[in-house]
Point group: C4
């Protein structure tokens, strides 16, 4: 049915206002979509009238156009013979895991260009090590996309810090010869109370992308929650599974419900155990580090002409962009529909208070993830771990049983002790996102496996030192949460007083 076009015809649509782009042999009118492209408009408008497949392929899944955009923007199939070199956008330089680059460290004194030498995998001692390596080996734009958070990035960082607001209360003289980290949740056994949460566009980290994560999940004995916004297609991810490997899946509900139905049914058919519906992103958050990095690299779209109007467009752009593939109108009334289209367990991802957890329970859902979307959405919202006691209390009062309604936490988990703390406060398990991506970026799937082994090693030690030989033996008596809900902002310092104070110096400085 699609029209057959020549590349010459496509090439006429080569302006910002009239912008056609060829991908995998099909021409798309992206004039409108460009403005809301998460990667920035320039990447698209620079390819107006061209074939951008080579640049598109390393990051996007092949089926993303079909999955996210309306059919009518597909303008026709392009005669391959007409796609000569002059019409082809060159792919970006290959991913360079080890390269000469400016050190991005925060320390003042080493702004020199130096060769970064990637340490061996065995040098990785904790999750932060992967992050420090990933920052060096990733493309700046990819790093900007992963590492950024909403607005002032206070919640982004607070997610991790919140775990330090919980202190340990270990018991002694318990036989801890044998420690058993195994557990199971949502019907899936787990080698520890951990799953890999859904994160978008894993190819930005490593060419293996989500396929690498699927493989690592199998080896590490944890379940992976497949993302809707993957850089590999669903089929590719499913094919990568080891025999019998269980999966979860995440879902952004599409404004066109039928698309979501098709997607969900495909997941169910593939044996996915549970469906996590993201409810904290009716609109994407403002990630300024990411915005700044795009602005710097692609330049402004509004250099010329009326800057004012440019401003207006941009301020309303984000919302429109999202409405094209995430349904901002999704509400409690839609839950029965969700339940009607699948027999998978359905959970909500992004619950942030006790009332909503109780509503989810009463609506017959099977659980929820306390999450603020990795600090990428609403800044100064609370870390999931901080919300956990409020939610467990509300559920208890509502009569919910852990067997019927499972609660998870994600955001800021970097240590085995963090997993312990979440379990102690009632979580069935925790999700990790960025650490998976950073391990993948640094060392591929082997990196992820080692990262999990380190968390296991740490958790095993914490359990042994806490006198809790099994997951079931971990209770809220093993932690203290006195300051968990405190958000302390220090009074600004008195610079005049500070400047006149001379610090004491140790003798070695004589």
């Amino acid at each position: 049915m699609a029209a057959m076009l020549t590349m010459g015809e496509v090439a006429k649509h080569n302006t910002k206002e009239d912008c056609w782009v060829v991908l995998y042999g099909k021409a798309y009118d992206l004039s409108k979509f460009a403005k809301v492209h998460p990667g920035g408009a320039k990447l698209i408008t620079n390819a107006a009238g061209m074939d951008a497949t080579a640049a598109f392929d390393p990051i996007h899944p092949k089926d993303i156009m079909e999955k996210l955009l309306k059919p009518d923007i597909m303008k026709g199939v392009v005669d391959p013979a007409t796609i000569t070199e002059q019409y082809v956008v060159k792919a970006p330089a290959a991913h360079k895991p080890v390269q000469k680059k400016k050190s991005k460290s925060s320390s003042e004194d080493d702004e020199v260009i130096e060769e970064f030498k990637k340490p061996p995998l065995a040098a990785m001692l904790n999750t932060f090590d992967f992050e420090s390596v990933a920052r060096e080996v990733m493309e700046p734009q990819a790093w900007g996309y992963y590492s950024s958070g909403g607005d002032d990035e206070i919640t982004l960082r607070d997610n991790h810090l919140a775990f330090q607001r919980i202190t340990m209360r270990p018991r002694i003289l318990v036989n801890v010869k044998d420690i058993d980290l195994r557990t199971s949740f949502l019907g899936a056994p787990a080698s520890l109370p951990l799953y890999f949460t859904a994160t978008a566009l894993a190819k930005l980290a490593h060419k293996d992308g989500e396929v690498g994560i699927v493989r690592a999940a199998a080896k590490a004995g944890v379940t992976y929650m497949l993302p809707t916004l993957s850089s590999y297609t669903l089929d590719e991810m499913l094919e990568a599974r080891a025999p019998g490997q269980l999966m979860f899946a995440q879902l952004y509900v599409n404004p066109e419900r039928s698309r979501s139905e098709i997607y969900v049914k495909k997941l169910e058919a593939a044996g996915v155990k549970a469906l996590f519906v993201t409810v904290d992103a009716p609109q994407l958050g403002r990630r300024e580090k990411d915005m700044r990095s795009k602005f710097t690299q692609q330049g402004s779209d509004v250099q010329d002409g009326d800057e004012d109007e440019g401003a207006v467009d941009r301020s309303q752009g984000a919302a429109r962009a999202i409405s094209s593939y995430i349904d901002a109108g999704l509400c409690w009334d839609d839950v029965p529909w969700l339940q009607s289209i699948t027999k998978m367990k359905v959970l909500l991802k992004g619950v942030q208070c006790g009332e909503d957890a109780v509503l989810a329970y009463k609506a017959g859902l099977k659980g929820c993830v306390l999450s603020n979307h990795g600090g990428r959405q609403l800044d100064t919202s609370r870390p999931g771990i901080e919300i956990l006691p409020e939610v467990m209390e509300a559920l208890r009062e509502a009569g919910a049983k852990m067997a019927d309604f499972e609660v998870f936490v994600d955001g800021g988990i970097r240590r085995g002790a963090d997993i312990f703390k979440a379990v102690a406060l009632g979580a069935s398990g925790v999700g990790v996102g960025r650490p998976v991506l950073y391990a993948l970026a640094s060392y591929g799937d082997k990196g992820i496996v080692r990262m999990v082994h380190m968390l296991q090693d740490e958790l095993q030690m914490v359990m042994r030192l806490s006198g809790t030989p099994t997951i079931a033996s971990i209770t809220d008596k093993h932690v203290l949460t006195t300051n968990l809900a405190d958000h302390i902002v220090c009074l600004p310092t008195d610079n005049l007083s500070n400047r006149t104070y001379e610090s004491l110096q140790p003798a070695a400085r004589l």
Copy 2:
């Protein structure tokens, strides 16, 4: 009636003690006023016996002498023919928005002189961006005047930090397809719960001064509170209005009440909707950054002779200065007089506790602004947002209804989330001051419009992510104020212990 003078006669009064200055053809005896000139005495005494109109005009409104000072200091009209070049003080160099200057950044390592290249307007992602640009493009003295706060500037900074002491409590699965930011207060519709608060001497930021703000207010759909201490005359500001544009106005009550009456009636006649009487500045605060900057540039007045006496004069100077145009005797007994001279809604600007809000309500006033004057008056006083819960509770107990008595907050608002938090705690709207000036300084009225659009964009996102599609749907259940009233001062660090500790290093540093 005024005497006709020659410039030769004026020129005889050319000492600090006997200091006449010609402005717009009239000679003024500024011997006494010089000591209390907010801009410093030197600027005046350096012009003793001269015509200073060219230097005066870029900053001051033409009518300021009449508005603020006693008539008897006007000594006569000067024959224009006698004002020859030798008697004319040269105007300061023109405002240079982009210039070579020493970087003022806080980072140690870049004390090099470098050309500052102003980023395009489209690069502005938040209100802080305007501030960072304004610091580079403004004259140091103007920057010193705007950016400074009282004493140790603790309240100045705390105003912003207080918002971070409030955490968000978003709700999910609410239909947030359509978000409506519109509201209205004091009878004026607003495109979001925001107004531009009165700030003095906008010409210091940009040649368009208050006129530029009036224009931006119209375009952005927010109301501007006209300042008493403007650099354009009231008439010039009113003329700049768009058709039907509503205004508020701020009032410093003059010790000569008749002057205030005339001014207020003029405002009312011009259709101004509400009058905000400033009650937190019976004396101007000590802004040391500003004082230091003036001292450095103009030198000391007391280099010679008895420094002691100089000290005494100075210590009492500020109070006398103010009493010349702000009535330090204004008290609750004067409220009926205020109400008698106008039919505009009268509000108090600068309320800082529940009792005073209740007194204002009982006195029949229409509302108040919880404000500490942008941290420029009494240091270590509380941020407006922190006072809000105390005031709302006191008003509730006194039986006040929001319809009768509206409460506003200013100070430290920099994010859409800040507006949300103020509304959640009961404010009808918030005022922004410095962000307007910095946007104006950086990009003129276009800058202000973009700044508002960014706040709208942020607020829209916050409302969508909080599950509150309308202003009315925002409640105090959507925020947590556990630590709002905490003013935490950290114990001094133990330097000896710190110095001997070696921090952990990530693997990429190997």
Copy 3:
């Protein structure tokens, strides 16, 4: 009665073990005292067998030997004719108020030797300015002595910070045209609720020493508490008084009570109004900055021989040193004796809890100073201002009336607002110590006068902005003390997490 000696005879006692020194024509055996000399042993043993008057005179009062030490160490009068040049220790170089020295600022980048140019007095905007100048113009050893505190200097700094833990609660629309700062305490009128507290050895700051402070006190209208450990004699200080100038006096009770009796009677005869008995220093605190500075400059006494034993001596030295002129045995039983030897009002300086204030009240004393000796004694003890509410509450419960028992606070007062806060919480007045010394060091008595005028200026502003026109109108409703008693220590930072975080940058940094 005293033996007549020749210098040749004195010169035989020229070793550390047998150390005679000539001062003002008399020979003293300082072999034992050297070990406990607050200025370090080396200064004395280096002068063994010599006349050290020229070096001694610039710092010590002439009568200190008689006042503090036992008579039997005076070995005889030396024939002046025999004191030839070879026997005379040269005085240290004259005090150099402006000199080339290494900048001591905390900033990393300016470790260059540069000429320090003292700013004019008029450039002093606050008490910190004097401190910053004093650091540059004082001899390092003198600076070390004044600026140091006990142990880790936590209380030293906390004294100042504690005032920031109190927030202001200003009232509006009070007639504040006229502000009256005057008050009176202990029968002495004061131009503001302030006195100069006793501090030792003011000649270290400036050649005018205590005499300069006496003069400044008269000019500034505040009362000076004469120190026992002055560098001028009591007579010299009393002679410097202006006609009718009132004084307080501080007292270290001597183990030989008769010495204290003589001293107290002399004070009373001179018309001193009140006697403050120091009770927080039965032993001098360890001030490591001072110890380090002495060690560096004078070298160790124990370089040779058995270091161990040296260590033992030293560890017990300080206690013995003090017991030679401060009675560590002073206790409540001695209060009646104190009251019996004078009709002056007797107060305790150094009370640190409610119980002791009540005991003082019940013992018939007239008041107390809540003080930790400027942070120089017991580290991690509470600031005076923090203790104030506890003490006022305890006194109220004990039925004490402010007229009978007056409470003062010292330590950390640097701003007019600090005075306001102390008065609001019940203090009759506050004492300032270091600011007086720093102002003296920087600009002599004129500096002190200006410093007081600045505090007056600040206090006047704070009272005007708080709606409290008189000292009596200031109440505890005008401040908030929510966090006053909080000693918050932040959890150690997570360096691995911090190192991998990249901060957001403002646009001007693009």
Copy 4:
């Protein structure tokens, strides 16, 4: 019975998989043990097939092989005549107390290589001084081993900071002429409420190792708790005792109980007064600074081949390692056995909550040490001093009397005031560990003696200034613990706001 081997035969076992090493004339098969060697596998595998006695001797006690490992790894006695030079591993370079090395200070600006000049012992003013010197004079690996803590080292540092969360509440006018620091606990008199706690491998600090500590303990009048993991043999340590010198001893219970029985009986026979059974280390903590330092110096074991598997091995290695000489199965049921094998007082070292203290009391044990193993085991667990009030309260409720059950605290004690605070809250005494090692490393046993004298000096001052002339007079009224249990984590800073703020500058900077 042991086989007689030639070195040639041993030399055949020279691979990682088949690794024999000769020590003191005996050949051991260390193939398995290498993987769990606390000092890292490389140190052992590099010596495969060699005689490593010279390298082994400087750190390990001669009897460690017998004490910790199974007999069957001893493969035979080696004919000394066959151990020619080619088979001998060279000893590491001699310990160099003063050497040219890279400054490790945290300050940015002095990354230059400079000669470190050790200050004289008399320059040591506090415990931190020893630490600062030790860092310079110790081998990096030894420093890494001592100074490191578990995971993020939050508890490591919090141990010290916790004491600053306690404020002093001194009393005045108490006769404090004579201060008596003496006390006694567990039947042993002490010159102050302090003992030297057990720490492993003191030879890493100084060649005198534990023998030096024994000697210093005698001179300083404190009791030393002999460590199980010493670098001298038990006999060597016991021989070093002064006549009548009392000792405590620490015990890691061996999985082979008979070994522990032999060891305990030997201690008892030697007159050791009390046995502290370590219960907080069923597995050694992860000390990343130490791990990193070993990795850097010895390289990775898993450079070649499958890194994944290497990762797995390592993650389970630590646990297995420990189980070889610490019984992870030790539990409350084993307490009667412990009590049956000795008449010494038995205490638990490493109790961390009230319940376990009560269990210990009810089990008939004689006391416990509240300890987190110097922050080396479970990170984010509470400092001992913080746990103390909870434990004392629980014991009081359980009816325990101090005479029957004594409570001690270790971790973070660096000041005399810290000892005072522990005693005030109910501790019989405190243990110091690292300060002893650092003093030993810096100046040998003389250093330790001086360190104790300094603590005595400080404690004496604190007692005098607190109005508590004897240990028994110190009560919980003399301290305040309001914030002791607060673990405050500051909200992340708002960098955009900070970057645009310009700090006030003092006048001396003009």
